[in-house]
């Protein structure tokens, strides 16, 4: 939460000037577009008559109705308690997006027919690849972060070269390098393991920086207290520093994990049957591209939603020792 002053002010959306401003903006915006030929026009038929012949009157009537509805909506939401506000706004935005997708005239039966396979094969592979990469990436990140903080020249050089290389090269290239490049050295790796390897190395490089920042955020006194009691380096790291760094690390880590979940779609270039690969191959032959791509996008959204929930749960868990 931001810092909140202890002065109660009137709700912004209940101030007349603000409502008038919104009203003006919405009205002006909708006047710019001619919506008489869309479903808006059809809805307004009783008022404006034949939409195609209504001219400016039709346009104005539609904009007016939209503006009034929008302002009424905003003012009403302003009366609700916080949680209800959040839920209603979420619901309305979601509805708008679904309406947007609806305008593509997608074939629902096609989606429903292919959804089970998309989930059992695609989602499973995506989750599997992401989860395994996530584990290895975290492992690599901790080691790289410690190496980057160490005073050992070799460790620092190797770790900084690693992070620079894998953050600098496009992930797609890394995937190709591992899948197509390593066989040149006689090392042949299957598609899924090489995808996991590439993802782990790339995300590990990003996460190394997050871990480094987290470790650096801990007061020097914690190290001194721990070492002065005779705790070794590993013990200090494991039991004193990392547990305190985790609350700092969790939000950017959630970010990285969500990014990785979607980056895992790049593994599709290796022919791994994950979500994006399946969405493309199922949609292509029957020209149902959009159906499959939008469905897979929504599935990605749901999956990252799960990660968001996990993140906020972790944040609350770590906030405990900070409460007074």
């Amino acid at each position: 939460m931001l810092y909140q002053d202890t002065v109660d002010t009137q709700v912004l959306v209940h101030k007349p000037w603000f409502v008038a401003l919104i009203f003006g903006i919405v009205l002006a915006t909708f006047l710019m577009f001619d919506l008489t030929s869309t479903s808006f026009g059809e809805l307004m038929r009783p008022v404006i008559g034949e939409p195609a012949q209504s001219g400016f009157f039709g346009r104005f009537a539609i904009a007016l109705v939209v503006a009034v509805a929008f302002c009424a909506n905003v003012v009403l939401i302003g009366f609700a308690p916080l949680k209800v506000q959040v839920a209603v706004v979420w619901f309305e935005l979601l509805l708008l997006f679904l309406a947007f997708f609806q305008s593509f005239k997608l074939s629902l039966p096609f989606i429903l027919a292919n959804l089970p396979y998309l989930i059992t094969q695609g989602v499973l592979t995506t989750v599997y690849v992401s989860a395994v990469s996530l584990f290895f990436a975290s492992l690599i990140a901790i080691i790289a972060a410690v190496a980057k903080l160490s005073s050992n020249g070799f460790a620092y050089a190797i770790a900084s070269f690693y992070t620079s290389f894998f953050r600098g090269l496009p992930l797609l290239m890394q995937i190709y390098l591992i899948y197509l490049g390593l066989p040149q050295l006689g090392i042949v790796i299957n598609a899924i393991p090489s995808g996991i390897l590439a993802l782990s190395l790339c995300i590990g490089a990003y996460m190394a920086e997050i871990f480094r920042a987290g470790i650096l955020s801990i007061d020097r006194g914690q190290w001194e207290a721990s070492r002065s009691m005779g705790f070794g380096f590993g013990l200090t790291m494991r039991r004193i520093i990392l547990p305190q760094a985790l609350p700092v690390i969790v939000p950017p880590m959630g970010n990285t994990f969500i990014a990785m979940l979607k980056d895992s779609s790049l593994v599709s270039v290796l022919g791994v049957w994950e979500l994006t690969f399946l969405a493309r191959t199922i949609g292509q032959p029957t020209f149902h591209h959009m159906e499959m791509l939008i469905t897979s996008s929504l599935i990605y959204w749901i999956l990252s939603g799960c990660l968001e929930v996990a993140q906020s749960w972790l944040e609350r868990h770590f906030a405990r020792s900070k409460v007074r």
Partner: protein, 247 residues
């Protein structure tokens, strides 16, 4: 090597770059002795005390603690640290652990004491610093004075041969200073060997066997407290005392 000597420093010098923070320090601390180190800020007193458990490395001379020479060998340093308790100006309690766990961690993780035994010991020492009722709280829930007493208990749980106090009351509100000093005085009365960097002259009078005055990295004067306060020998000491005692 006399087994009676807990800390022995011979001709210790230390530099920060070209700046000499410690020069030619000679100091011996025997078992059961309490010394107070005072001096103006920047005189090297904190640096010196931090050399005794090698939170800082000295560059010249020799430091032995409980008969072990402090040098570059990690094994020696670790052995010394196990037997030397340190209390910091900013407490440095582990904020993610309860008070009890702060006290149990050392014995359990370093000495391999069982959880039950560590808990008994922790409760005993929390009793000793008179805050057993706070055992299950987190450090942020305690006042500064309480936190510092927990820090003392945490060190005591390791049953150290000597306790180092690095300005233990400097970060405290005035009314909390006395509760910490009382704890320290009662430790001194029970025969704990102590080195204490502090400006609390009342504590020096009550508990110290010797007071050491440092300036510009040197030990300027070393005397029993009554002598030290009644008839300081050096001008620098007189000036310091007149400033610190004038209000």
């Amino acid at each position: 090597m006399n087994a009676n000597k807990v800390i022995e420093a011979k001709n210790v010098s230390k530099w920060y770059g070209t700046f000499k923070v410690l020069s030619d320090i000679n100091l011996t601390l025997r078992k059961g002795e309490r010394i107070v180190i005072c001096g103006p800020s920047g005189s090297g007193k904190s640096t010196l005390i931090r050399c005794f458990n090698r939170l800082e490395a000295h560059h010249d001379g020799e430091i032995s603690v409980i008969g072990i020479r402090l040098d570059n060998k990690m094994r020696n340093v670790a052995e010394v640290r196990k037997n030397v308790g340190m209390v910091f100006q900013h407490f440095n309690l582990f904020p993610h652990m309860t008070v009890l766990m702060n006290c149990m961690a050392g014995p359990m993780w370093i000495k391999g004491v069982s959880e039950i035994e560590a808990k008994q010991k922790a409760l005993k020492f929390l009793e000793r610093v008179r805050i057993p009722e706070q055992a299950n709280k987190y450090p942020v829930q305690l006042s500064g004075g309480q936190q510092q007493r927990v820090a003392i208990a945490r060190s005591l749980c390791m049953e150290p041969a000597v306790m180092l106090f690095d300005e233990p009351t400097s970060a405290l509100d005035p009314e909390m200073v006395s509760e910490v000093l009382e704890t320290m005085t009662s430790l001194a009365r029970d025969g704990m060997t102590m080195v204490c960097v502090t400006h609390e002259m009342g504590f020096a009078r009550a508990a110290a066997d010797r007071v050491i005055f440092m300036d510009a990295g040197r030990i300027v004067e070393e005397a029993p407290p009554n002598e030290f306060f009644a008839s300081p020998q050096h001008d620098r000491t007189k000036l310091f005392l007149s400033q610190i005692l004038s209000h």
